[in-house]
Symmetry: C3
Subunit: 320 residues, 3 copies
Amino acid sequence: MRGKDLVSVDDLSRADIELILDRAESFAEVSVREIKKVPTLRGRTIVNLFYEASTRTSSSFELAAKRLSADVVNIKSVGSSVDKGESLKDTVQTLSAYDPAAIVIRSPHAGAAGLVARWSAASVINAGDGKHEHPTQALLDVYTLRRRLGALEGVKIWIVGDVLHSRVARSGVLAFSRMGCSVTVCGPPTLIPRGVEALGCDVRWSLEGIEEANVIYALRMQNERMTGSFVPSLREYAARYQIDGRRLAPGQLLMHPGPVNRGVELAGEVVDSPQALIVQQVESGVVVRMAVLYELLTGGGPDTGSRFARDTAAGEPQPA
Amino acid sequence: MRGKDLVSVDDLSRADIELILDRAESFAEVSVREIKKVPTLRGRTIVNLFYEASTRTSSSFELAAKRLSADVVNIKSVGSSVDKGESLKDTVQTLSAYDPAAIVIRSPHAGAAGLVARWSAASVINAGDGKHEHPTQALLDVYTLRRRLGALEGVKIWIVGDVLHSRVARSGVLAFSRMGCSVTVCGPPTLIPRGVEALGCDVRWSLEGIEEANVIYALRMQNERMTGSFVPSLREYAARYQIDGRRLAPGQLLMHPGPVNRGVELAGEVVDSPQALIVQQVESGVVVRMAVLYELLTGGGPDTGSRFARDTAAGEPQPA
Amino acid sequence: MRGKDLVSVDDLSRADIELILDRAESFAEVSVREIKKVPTLRGRTIVNLFYEASTRTSSSFELAAKRLSADVVNIKSVGSSVDKGESLKDTVQTLSAYDPAAIVIRSPHAGAAGLVARWSAASVINAGDGKHEHPTQALLDVYTLRRRLGALEGVKIWIVGDVLHSRVARSGVLAFSRMGCSVTVCGPPTLIPRGVEALGCDVRWSLEGIEEANVIYALRMQNERMTGSFVPSLREYAARYQIDGRRLAPGQLLMHPGPVNRGVELAGEVVDSPQALIVQQVESGVVVRMAVLYELLTGGGPDTGSRFARDTAAGEPQPA
């Protein structure tokens, strides 16, 4: 991989993405062992710096780091004011003094992860920065879909919902299109950002034509938008954009970044259907984040393969 | 042990309880070593999912898991709404995607642990679910008392206080009576649930006759009940039910699940008396929870003994 | 070292301080390795009990303990009422039942750490107790300055700001003067405690004469004081006491315990100047706390040297 950080999917070439996906496949083998752990990052420190509440992303990164044998320090400052301007810089300088191998950061402010990457010598991984990007989510989505379909070239994906406020949508469009998918974003005109086509996608304002999609990717309707001025009412939103049993055609796959608002963007019946990959997406989170940490922190290079083989050798006593 | 989970004391036969107590005795030997750790659960993941504030139970489970060398992920969502209905199911599905060996759950809702056990392939341990049960508290109480008395058959125990709202009382009545104790519950009529005799205990509405008890088990008076309609006043409650130096007879033992409201259910003088087993109960918490995790996660079976001997062998370098 | 605890700098002789600084130097070598970890405290438990919000101190202690391979249990009870009177005692009894090697405590109440040290058989480390002391901060300050200057005898230090409410100032005066420095405290008369000279320092009410200082140590202006009755206005405080580029003479060093209020006690220009040791202070935090834990928990003694050499031997597989 090219840089020390993962701030945006734009940092990644198609080859980089494939490298991460292949590494994640290897970690998937480790994850079904009883001892789900490799010694790769023993004695190295990973800081999880979360300025927004998060259960699944923060626990997924924490577990990925622990399964690589790193020492993990979790810092949660929800509602704190320290994530603004100079304060964030001071916090990063403080944390950098610990010489961490990586800082994983989630912030409500777009661009925060990029600033941290500039200020710190550590590898910085963007775990979501405002409306900007959430690249590991996109990578785990691509990984999940590749596992299911084998190849992604030419696959048609519709991303449906509040695209305007969604870092998941933004990173997803970039990643899926880079992998050769044909991506369409769909939602109420008030919730589609102007000029989104420049990311490499088509735009639709209604579900008409969604039967062409191989994959429907529904976005979470954020609570704070539900009663806002973006949609006339939740009921009307659901009537026009909810994916339910009638709208999900046989053979189509369904994805969602979680947590689902049942009865809003998805009907309960489709959440639990075998066409849904939602649980697989969560499973993918740990191995894909292990792969990202591995590739960023071990520096890749020609001997990565043999190092990886040694670290993941099963059956021998590993001091992890 | 019979099932994959520990949701209720009712899941346990007397033989199961004795198996856990004996295993806990073995871990008590490990706990006095300088290196209080065995490699048994290395590379396995334990999720602590706490929807209620808790210092002692959550830290006790965390420490038990770490002393078994597991990777621990703590998730605390006090005040969050995710513990209701479908949301809990989604959370459990998310966590199950990490393939944890065990999920330890505390919830304000009776029955939550049972639901989680049904939804997850992991071993689920109930760390308190509403007014329903708190089985590891009962096991550590039984363990503490057996350590002190040697045998429990025929021991007379009075459980005094707010039995109605107490999961500790409910699990305690089941566990002590299963071990052959004679159990009496005692408290104001408004705080004794109707039909509690069916659990296998006698009922008293005053402390009259408590001198027959070998053990007085005082319940914590929950703050939120103190000013409610259940008792006329705290002062009157204390006058009628507080255990103090006059009411604790020589030779009687005193137990309490902690934290104590000094001056309410217990006078300070008895908390610090040598008849009180309160500190020992906390000590027992770690080893009993290690034992529960050990029995649920290693599957027992004929070679458990030799595995245990190997895992707990002192003096050799253990990759834990 | 003399006692089991580190509650006050007054507990430490000059020889004790030098022992800790030398040990910290050794850990500084470990900290630049890829594997920043030694097995010394494997299988031992360290409890971090924080009754005040803290990012840098709590994460620094957590990391120090993990780099010594201890199992760490973090307990944060900000806003809780359990830190008062008997409740603190009960909490300590609970935690002591886990037989921790050390309890690290931060409390808003002066004297809390001393009480915990009396109640617990564990080594107790004061991580800040109200306005009383913060001894590891003083040790890391002394360590940082000794690293930069080589020797501290006769070095002139001015501590500037809200001395009245500052545990950092109190511990700093004690530690720097014990190491042979000449210490002056400086601030508005309302923010200098009466009788502070007894700690071994001079007192000034204005910055006049500060050009004699080799080191200016600026204190954080606590937010809650800023709008209080202690200073007429922030603007006036900054005009009279802020260290900026004009007041920091060439060759003078600048220290601050962090986090800095830029534009209040320090101008941004000096924070980022090469004369500032602020980042180095944070770096020192981890190795100094490792050294304190090491000295308190391994008991020192004649074979400490060879044990240390064994524990920190690089290049061999350590089961940490």
